[in-house]
């Protein structure tokens, strides 16, 4: 085992393979930075080239892209509140307010350091756990997966702030929107009529971009000025961020582990991971008053989880041939091209390939985050440029990118529609993150609920896994309510004091 580990490193050190790794990282960064394009597009791009390569080089290329995207898509999240690929969505909650306060470089520095450590922990977890992962992955049946979706829904509490009722309403509306399209257990295409485009339901990328990106762009333009409201010392920003992350190293470790674990569970998808981690850090931290206003922990937690998850999703992919995310589905296709069959025998027959994958993951994270760190200072300066110069460029890229997925005009129609919806939600004080969470979890919740019932009738409610996860969800909600009562009392007192100050002449 150990010599395979070392051997793989030397295999990877081949100049062509290293070149492939670097190219993958470069592509991943380019695709991640531009909002609207997804990491998936980067991987699809290089598919034709895989036919001529050996497995190690091909794998290095693909893992390079897959590992670099969750790092680079922090840029649009922090700088403009635009969710990048499905990875860095929750980062907008605190990363963007930091940029608004002129602390973009600090946010980026913190994010990339967290990404680096998270990614390395993910690679480490993969190598340590993968021999034992099989029984763990098999432990999660449909009932347990349903409970996990409930756990995901329990986070909306913290995402609704002082308006829990509005948050719940938004989440339920999200659940309803998620039912559009093919029903999981019946051959019915709901709310689609004859419009084939809707047979697959609405696209997560379109909904997320519409809800979060467009309203921010519009509001910034309407307000005038630059992204950052206040100027602050530019140069030292990112070092502060790095120090922040190192100071919160236990947070990084905790959330990296959570990211790996959720990523390893097949059937949950990876889009929910950064939200769950944001929810956990916001719900369980002692001083919660600054979450949503620019608390650096709200950046560190999702970012470490985001990168660590790549190690997690590789587990079901390699051990079972079941992709943990759409990027992994591409990897499976590539493995097929190279004649590698995923499954338990990978640990005996293809062990060196497994370790090449792990090494690629680790190295790609290192290269990727270093390049991002270098880019963060110049790119952070954009937050001080008058926004009306940046906006048209972003608008063009977002719209062109959003259209690439299916090239159907309806994509853009829904993008604008959800943009308008998100903007109206901002104006009427309805929180948007719960809507997105409800939307993401809708299909999963319905599917696993039905399957649990069809497989076990009502006995599924008494399974140990179900009860454990249920208890966890309840505990989180209770903890958040209790902590919120304390902090909101404190916050109200502060606000009353402030408003007294303001109303004084």
């Amino acid at each position: 085992m150990l010599d395979a580990f070392v051997n793989a490193f030397w295999i990877l050190l081949d100049p062509f393979r290293l070149l492939m790794l670097f190219s993958g990282v470069a592509i991943g960064i380019a695709v991640g930075i531009l909002p609207g394009l997804g990491g998936l597009m980067g991987m699809a791009l290089v598919l034709p080239f895989l036919f001529g390569m050996d497995a190690y080089a091909g794998v290095a290329l693909l893992i390079g892209i897959a590992a670099a995207v969750p790092s680079a898509d922090t840029f649009p999240s922090v700088l403009m509140g635009i969710p990048g690929s499905s990875g860095s969505q929750a980062t907008i909650m605190d990363g963007y307010p930091m940029a608004r306060r002129g602390e973009a470089a600090r946010a980026l520095g913190a994010a990339f350091t967290a990404s680096l450590i998270g990614g390395l922990i993910g690679a480490l977890a993969l190598s340590a756990v993968v021999p034992f992962a099989r029984p763990l992955i098999l432990a999660f049946g449909s009932p347990e997966l349903f409970m996990l979706t409930l756990l995901g829904l329990s986070i909306i509490g913290v995402l609704s702030g002082n308006r829990p009722l509005k948050g719940m309403l938004a989440a339920v509306a999200g659940l309803a929107i998620g039912t559009v399209g093919g029903a999981p257990v019946a051959a019915e295409y709901r709310f689609a009529g004859d419009f084939l485009y809707l047979y697959d339901g609405l696209s997560l990328v379109i909904v997320a971009l519409g809800l979060f990106a467009l309203p921010e762009i519009v509001d910034l333009l309407a307000r005038g000025g630059a992204i950052a409201e206040r100027a602050r010392g530019l140069g030292h920003g990112w070092m502060d961020g790095v120090r922040d992350t190192l100071r919160h190293k236990w947070l990084v470790i905790r959330h990296s582990v959570i990211g790996v674990v959720i990523g390893a569970i097949p059937g949950m998808g990876s889009s929910i991971i950064d939200w769950v981690n944001y929810g956990i850090v916001a719900q369980t931290s002692k001083d919660r008053s600054r979450f949503g206003k620019g608390d650096v922990r709200g950046v560190i937690a999702p970012e470490s989880a985001n990168n660590a998850k790549e190690g997690g999703v590789l587990m079901p992919t390699l051990l079972f041939g079941v992709p943990g995310s759409s990027a992994m589905a591409m990897l499976l296709g590539a493995l097929m091209i190279f004649g590698v069959q995923p499954g338990p025998q990978m640990l005996t027959r293809d062990l060196d390939l497994v370790f090449v994958i792990i090494w690629s993951l680790a190295l790609a994270n290192v290269f990727g985050t270093f390049i991002c760190l270098l880019l963060s200072r110049p790119i952070a300066r954009l937050t001080f440029v008058p926004f009306h110069y940046i906006a048209p460029v972003i608008i063009v890229i977002v719209i062109v990118g959003a259209w690439q997925e299916t090239r159907h005009w309806a994509d853009l129609a829904f993008l604008l529609g959800f943009g308008l919806l998100g903007w109206l939600m901002k104006r009427s004080g309805m929180p948007r993150p719960p809507l997105l969470i409800g939307f993401i979890l809708s299909g999963l919740a319905e599917r696993y609920l039905w399957m649990s019932y069809n497989l076990y009738d009502w006995e599924w409610l008494t399974r140990p896994g179900v009860l454990t996860i249920g208890a966890l969800a309840v505990a989180l909600i209770v903890a958040s309510v209790r902590l919120k009562r304390n902090t909101s009392q404190r916050a109200e007192a502060i606000q009353m004091a402030e408003s007294d100050k303001e109303s004084r002449p």
Binding site: M43, P48, G333, M336, I337, Y448
Partner: protein
């Protein structure tokens, strides 16, 4: 002009015209695809089995077609393959410059006339195809030791359903045995049903033969599962044929014969004989419109023949075909033949079964 000169000139002129007209058709066949780009529509997401096959063909076929056109693969995803198929069926020119890679299950959907799918296989011609067999296994928790005891299996015989039309051949097989199974819809893909099977959630599982050998065989070796039958293939005379990847495994019709003492018969057997050949080209079927110019069709066939005999292609395709032989030339005839052999009763039977059990709607 003197008469003789005139005649000579006329003779020369006629000779030239005749000579040119003899040369022209030959030049035309070679020229049809010269400098052209062929678009290969793949109605599925990148990375899947059909996509990989389509890309393999795109990679290799181009240079063997006279004129050496480039083939570019394009994923047009959505609605389970409907969006890409409809585009191919209705929105591209019938000039031989567009091809489509379908999965065997998409073929079946088109054949049955699934609602919303406007692909008409009668108007298409297969260019090249790749088969893939399937194997059905059962968990040992069902309490039987031998496939012949299938009808005595106990407990809730759950079978995971991803997409009812997509699993039709395995469902028809189970119906043929009149087995009392409980369908559990909602699974995202065959990989998910495999994990559920391993977990003990599902009792019966059908996988492609390579996936069976890779992931289910270890369970069999551990004593947790048992293979029931291979779906097998159907030859030109309607007789069952063993799956070349698992030649020692009994096929479903043969098992039926073992249990009941005679071969299956009736509408369901006809349905099986129709479904299996159409679907067993699951890896992929490359279609082209049937009414493209003759030169184009000839050029395509020439290209396929050359490609199949190219050692470079054989080497590259080995891992993707996973032990099966590519279908080309006359072999492709069986695809259409089995479609033509389907009687209206069989079609009605299949459509009714899908509609009653799963609510599937047809055109």
């Amino acid at each position: 002009m003197p008469r003789t000169t005139y005649n000579k000139m006329a003779a020369i002129a006629t000779g030239l015209v005749l000579g040119a007209s003899v040369m022209l058709p030959a030049a035309h066949a070679d020229d049809y695809y010269a400098g052209q780009t062929i678009r290969m529509i793949i109605p599925f997401s990148p990375g899947g089995g059909t996509d990989t096959f389509g890309r393999l063909i795109s990679q290799h076929l181009g240079r063997h077609i006279p004129g050496s056109p480039t083939i570019v693969a394009e994923n047009v995803t959505g609605a389970g393959g409907l969006l890409g198929s409809n585009e191919f069926a209705e929105r591209v020119d019938h000039d031989g410059l567009t091809l489509m890679t379908a999965s065997g299950h998409l073929n079946l959907r088109a054949f049955l006339g699934l609602q919303g799918l406007r692909l008409d296989l009668d108007a298409l011609e297969p260019v090249v195809a790749a088969p893939m067999g399937h194997v059905t296994a059962i968990s040992t928790q069902a309490g039987i030791d031998d496939p012949a005891d299938l009808l005595e299996a106990q407990g809730r015989l759950t079978k995971g359903i991803t997409d009812p039309v997509g699993l039709l051949e395995s469902l028809v097989a189970l119906e043929m045995f009149e087995l009392n199974y409980r369908a559990v819809p909602g699974y995202g893909g065959r990989g998910d049903t495999r994990i559920a099977f391993e977990r003990g959630e599902l009792m019966i599982n059908t996988q492609s033969t390579p996936a069976y050998l890779n992931s289910v065989q270890p369970l069999v070796d551990e004593g947790m599962a048992m293979p029931l039958y291979a779906i097998g293939f159907i030859d030109g005379e309607g007789n069952p044929q063993r799956d070349p990847a698992v030649p020692d495994m009994i096929t479903a019709p043969e098992l039926y014969e073992q249990i009941h003492g005679e071969m299956p018969s009736g509408t369901i057997w006809e349905a099986f004989k129709v479904t299996v050949p159409l679907v067993q080209n699951t890896r992929g079927t490359v279609w082209v419109h049937g009414d493209i110019p003759d030169e184009a069709m000839a050029a395509l066939r020439e290209g396929v023949e050359a490609m199949v005999n190219d050692p470079e292609f054989q080497e590259a395709s080995a891992s993707i075909l996973e032990g099966y032989e590519i279908m080309w030339g006359d072999d492709l005839g069986q695809i259409k033949a089995s479609m033509d052999a389907a009687s209206p009763e069989v079609l009605d039977y299949l459509r009714d079964m899908l509609n009653e059990r799963f609510g599937t709607e047809f055109n």
